[in-house]
């Protein structure tokens, strides 16, 4: 009997392995290999078009941390990336949680479905389309100036959404927020749907108010989802590229929104300095690793949640 169950387990494990192999190969080819390759390239002075490469040790790392990088230093990119990440992912987590909770309160499924679709639609738009839409909105004659003038009780003020360095950074945050909030709302809805109704019924029987139920039941039980969503959102924000790139292509200045990925792109593709660009990607990788570790530590107790 014992031998039979052992053999079934082995059989299941074998099939498990077979089904996992494509993913492992995919990860190895498209994630692990590029990371190792970037690490090796970062220690060389490899040039894109020339395709020459010589080992230079840590020279690229010293360069990106101490030099101007042709007017676009890495320090500015780290600043731009951190400001963007903090300014985007925290409001996005809070707003997506609120919207998801609101949608779960809707009694009719068709309304919920409609709103889910509404919130998710921007996520499927290409970045080019999204940026084009927002460039019209941010135009001096566009909707954003009209709303701003209405809210601020001003008349005819151009808030320079795509011009002023601070406003430009806010603009990128708004575009990103609009584009991706639907995605995180869906993730939160999935998490909320997994909380058994019986817990809410018991809370209602015990006389708990909706507000109290949210803080004492929903939020603690949603911790694993919140942890996952916040890590995903943060990583996605740290990797942001297309929004900034499209606005820069539209004429906005590069410096205020020169996030690390954009600097990697210009250094590697436009200027052909693959060694330097690879060193920047390794720095970005380490930043992401450190932030993920910190966040995992902070949300460690989330593993304790049981329904």
């Amino acid at each position: 009997m014992g031998q039979k169950s052992y053999s079934i387990e082995r059989k299941q494990a074998k099939w498990g392995l077979i089904f996992t192999i494509p993913c492992l190969i995919f990860f190895a080819v498209f994630s692990f290999y590029p990371i190792i390759n970037a690490l090796i390239t970062s220690l060389t002075n490899r040039r894109a078009i020339a395709r020459t490469s010589e080992f230079v040790g840590l020279e690229n790392y010293i360069y990106i941390f101490t030099k101007d990088n042709g007017g676009f230093p890495l320090s500015n990119s780290i600043r731009a990336t951190l400001i963007f990440t903090i300014g985007t992912f925290i409001p996005m987590i809070i707003a997506s949680l609120i919207i998801a909770t609101f949608l779960m309160q809707l009694r009719k499924d068709k309304y919920r479905g409609f709103f889910q679709l509404m919130y998710y639609t921007p996520a499927v738009l290409s970045s080019v389309v999204a940026a084009s839409i927002w460039m019209i909105i941010f135009d001096p004659r566009g909707l954003m100036n009209q709303i701003s003038n209405f809210v601020m009780h001003t008349s005819g003020v151009d808030y320079n959404w795509l011009v002023d360095s601070t406003m430009l950074q806010i603009s990128t945050m708004m575009i990103y927020f609009w584009k991706y909030i639907g995605y995180f709302v869906i993730l939160f809805i999935t998490g909320l749907a997994a909380i058994p109704n019986t817990i809410y019924e018991a809370a209602t029987v015990d006389g708990s108010s909706r507000w109290h139920t949210f803080w004492k039941i929903t939020l603690p039980l949603l911790k694993p989802t919140t942890a996952m969503v916040s890590i995903m959102a943060m990583l996605q924000c740290l990797k942001t590229f297309s929004t900034q790139y499209m606005l820069h292509q539209g004429g906005s200045s590069r410096f205020p929104i020169d996030v690390i990925t954009m600097n990697i792109y210009f250094t590697g593709i436009r200027n052909g300095r693959l060694g330097r660009a690879s060193a920047m990607s390794i720095v970005l990788f380490l930043i992401m690793l450190v932030f993920t570790y910190i966040q995992l530590r902070l949300t460690r107790s989330s593993e304790d949640v049981e329904y």
């Binding site: 078009i49 100036n145 011009v163 205020p256």
Partner: protein
């Protein structure tokens, strides 16, 4: 049973993988990958030419792929970096040096282009046609177009605001004054501009403005960013022009060249090809004669009479393509050049062949004399090493002044430091 199915699946996979290579294609069949920048009018013409080229050369097929101008530069750089570039492509003067210096280009094949020798090829084109693509005595490209920008003026909009349309602005100061009066603001927000520059092509219009004031990219001793005073003055003008100054224009506003055709702006900078685009997009305005072309303005106290910098776009062939493909790619480039008259007639592009520049067709184009005269007072756009990066750095200096009020002297210092670092 499972084993049999697994075996059958593997065999099937094997067959599917092998199938394309056994498709019966002849070994001597050549496919040319041709990458070019977007241009709707040129697309129509070139697709027609490619069709007839394929008919005349049954063993050749051409895949024409279009990218946006900036995207094409990035795609070329990335693809050559991966040793997988297109067979035939075109790029503007300032984007060529890296490919040329790193031996990524195939030397021109005069015979495939239909010439007896390189000398006869050179002789067919105007002087300076090949300076950008010449290395160690060899030529690596033939021009697709030669363009210089002049000032397009909407005469009606000028006269509506009390200006004499027969006296378009000749100086930047006059242009600013006219643009200021033509600019319409509604409740303080810019509704319509009088003129705006062609961002981000700073080597073509901004460097000539610096030259007018006595400056240049390189000093006679080879140092970079020559004559601070000239650069600062040109940057001060751009500051005045931008949103932090009089707010007459900005790189973030809609493209002036496109607005001109819909009569949404009074003046813009463009090449001769603008006329063909105007004709196709707004034939009534074109036929009305309510537009004109004037010389590139100068500063009132210019030390040098300098027009906009003309630039070329070159057809080039990938040195890594196989020999047969290279020959056919040069043949195709030659075929395009053989139809230079159609390029000029249908889309307003000047291939700098002597038979074109001397032709009645060119001289019959409205205001072609303005472009020809401006060309005589111009210096070709800088196309040496790091031209593209230098253009980005100059752009960053101009935009830092225009968009976030960096003082011109600081912008010049930052530009010099970055340029020196780049050229080290």
């Amino acid at each position: 049973m499972i084993r049999v199915k697994a075996k059958a699946f593997i065999y099937l996979l094997f067959i599917l993988i092998l199938l394309p290579s056994c498709s019966g294609e002849k070994d001597d069949f050549v496919t040319i990958e041709y990458w070019t920048h977007e241009d709707d009018s040129r697309k129509v013409l070139e697709e027609r030419l490619i069709e007839s080229f394929e008919k005349e050369n049954p063993g050749v097929s051409v895949i024409r792929t279009e990218y946006g101008s900036a995207e094409l530069v990035d795609m070329i750089s990335a693809s050559f970096g991966a040793d997988d570039g297109p067979d035939l492509f075109n790029l503007p003067s300032e984007e060529i040096s890296a490919l040329l210096l790193n031996d990524k280009l195939d030397p021109v094949d005069a015979a495939s282009l239909g010439y007896d020798s390189i000398e006869s090829l050179k002789d067919a084109y105007i002087q300076s046609s090949f300076s950008t693509v010449t290395k160690d005595g060899l030529i690596y490209g033939i021009p697709l177009e030669y363009t210089i920008w002049c000032l397009y003026v909407n005469r009606t909009l000028l006269s509506n605001h009390g200006f004499n349309p027969d006296n378009p602005p000749a100086t930047w100061e006059e242009l600013m004054e006219i643009a200021e009066k033509l600019t319409i603001r509604k409740d303080g927000i810019l509704e319509c501009r009088g003129f705006d520059f062609r961002y981000p092509y700073y080597l073509s219009f901004f460097v000539p403005m610096v030259r007018q004031l006595g400056g240049d990219i390189f000093a006679p001793d080879g140092s970079v960013i020559y004559n601070d005073d000239a650069w600062e003055r040109a940057l001060s003008f751009m500051y005045e022009w931008g949103p932090s100054g009089r707010n007459l224009g900005s790189p973030t506003y809609a493209n002036a060249r496109e607005l001109f055709n819909s009569e949404g702006i009074a003046m813009c900078l463009s090449g001769l090809y603008q006329e063909s685009r105007l004709l196709s997009q707004n034939p009534e305005f074109y036929a009305s004669g309510d537009w004109m072309v004037a010389p590139f303005p100068v500063f009132s106290d210019s030390v040098s009479d300098e027009a906009a910098s003309p630039y070329f776009h070159y057809f080039m062939v990938n040195s890594a393509s196989d020999e047969k493909t290279k020959v056919e790619a040069w043949k195709l480039a030659g075929y395009f050049a053989a139809h230079a008259e159609e390029y000029l007639d249908e889309i307003g592009l000047i291939m700098p062949l002597k038979r074109i520049t001397d032709s009645d067709l060119l001289h019959s184009k409205p205001y072609s004399d303005v472009f020809i005269n401006d060309e005589k007072r111009s210096h070709e756009v800088y196309s040496g090493p790091h031209a593209s990066e230098l253009q980005s750095l100059i752009g960053e200096a101009v935009e830092s002044v225009m968009l976030y009020s960096v003082p011109p002297e600081k912008a010049v210092q930052a530009l010099r430091a970055s340029a020196e670092e780049l050229l080290k």
